[in-house]
Symmetry: C2
Subunit: 286 residues, 2 copies
Amino acid sequence: MTTSRSTQSVRAVTLERPTSTAARDAIADGLEREALVTVFGRCTVDYEGRASSQLAAGDRHVMLKPDGAALVHTDEGQQPVNWQPPGCAHDVFCEPTRSEAESDDFDKSEKAKDAAEADADGGGSVADPNADAALLVLESTRSTPEERLLVRFQDVLQVSTFAGTDEGELTLSGTEADLRERILENPDLLESGFTPLATERDTPAGAIDIYGEDDAGNTVVVELKRRRVGPDAVSQLRRYVDALERDLHADATLRGILVAPSVTERAQRLLGEHGLEFVSLEPTGE
Amino acid sequence: MTTSRSTQSVRAVTLERPTSTAARDAIADGLEREALVTVFGRCTVDYEGRASSQLAAGDRHVMLKPDGAALVHTDEGQQPVNWQPPGCAHDVFCEPTRSEAESDDFDKSEKAKDAAEADADGGGSVADPNADAALLVLESTRSTPEERLLVRFQDVLQVSTFAGTDEGELTLSGTEADLRERILENPDLLESGFTPLATERDTPAGAIDIYGEDDAGNTVVVELKRRRVGPDAVSQLRRYVDALERDLHADATLRGILVAPSVTERAQRLLGEHGLEFVSLEPTGE
DNA sequence: TACTTGATCTCGAGA
DNA sequence: TCTCGAGGTCAAGTA
């Protein structure tokens, strides 16, 4: 096993196949320094909170971020198999293996954690004599809502800590906001004679993307979507048109226009049934 | 720089502060072996596809999965700042630095990639003589839709490849499916005398979660949500009730019931306006 | 493939 | 803090 630990200016520290206690110390150090911590190894994962889940043992990549986020990734999928949102408190400790004590639930882990912390208080960073008989455990918790993620490693292949900086800003185009700007700059794209009067106009059912009137003076409710739309977008538009009709309790004709690159067939039919219209437009022009 | 590369049975390979070409070779090897590959370093990220984005230089953690997924994580947030879904083709190559050739866009990178591949074809794994003047570049692309992610590293702190196995299955409870089962097993939870007749009953507006009748013989449309609901859920329920009314074109009373742990005030009002009902239920009992 | 909807959705803006 | 809607949403089930 080799490391490149030397000074605080080291931006990346890596341990390969560390003992549980060495892993624990390196991770604790990384969390302390507000570094990004990664652990790869065979582990089980338990979650309890908004829902609850259990995951049997397998090789996974765990990332602990300094903002409190935790991510558990398998070798498949874009989404983590388990996670915890930013704002959590990360904790790391060692607990006895099952051969010594069955620890299959949260309560047992709580006891083990208390013991580990008591030990750490007393013994400093002295290596645990039972190092090889200890499991590395990562825990991320938060309140509101009360949630807890527990990752128990049977085997740790690698621990890394990364101290980085990132001031880079992301610029994104092709969003619904771009579609809105495009129409506001050239209202004729929607329909000749259209006049936007407000964006985000509030109704009892929510905010209308663009509120305006056509060249005949009819009120127009416009709902924008950056991509092909289904029935949900039609419902949304209908809800706003409905609310505005009640709100204005006027007899003036009220038009609802859905603006998107395209519509599904079912959505098209729903639009017709409710007297709503569709205009094909993409978020960005060529 | 140290590594623990030795045999194919090594499950994790790590390079610290590698040269661009060493990083390229290790990553190419990892991709070839269908390992999970991670790279940490200072990089810029460009995306073009369903939308388009640019991200200025910063320290980030990049993960390439053997299923084709790519993730770029900063030190903040649960979500990756950039990504690519499973099914993409990953590629790695070196391109000249800007001091030699301005390479600020996709076209230039394409040329550099072609050159790099031509070089690889001819020279095998021989180290590039301009290793220090080369940037490591990761590229993930797919079609339908055409999308491309390009990560250019100015500096690579660590490259790792992980060969793991994961047959562990996730069991999750507290979902909408659990709420449905709970009601089907004990329909009185919804209301005394309720009889479920079908789940996922199709209408022209979509599928109804639970379709049934009350003890008076009225048709009941039930929409389930695992958590507190807003106006969107009310719209959804209304859409189904509406569609069923048209579908059955009957005069029989049709009831719509939204089942969720709780409801927002605005949604509550909308329910009332449309003659819909609410029943408070959680996905799991105590 | 495309469609439809759930999700421990996440995230940001606004009240 | 809660509400509300967008998202390069993702992922699963279905036709």
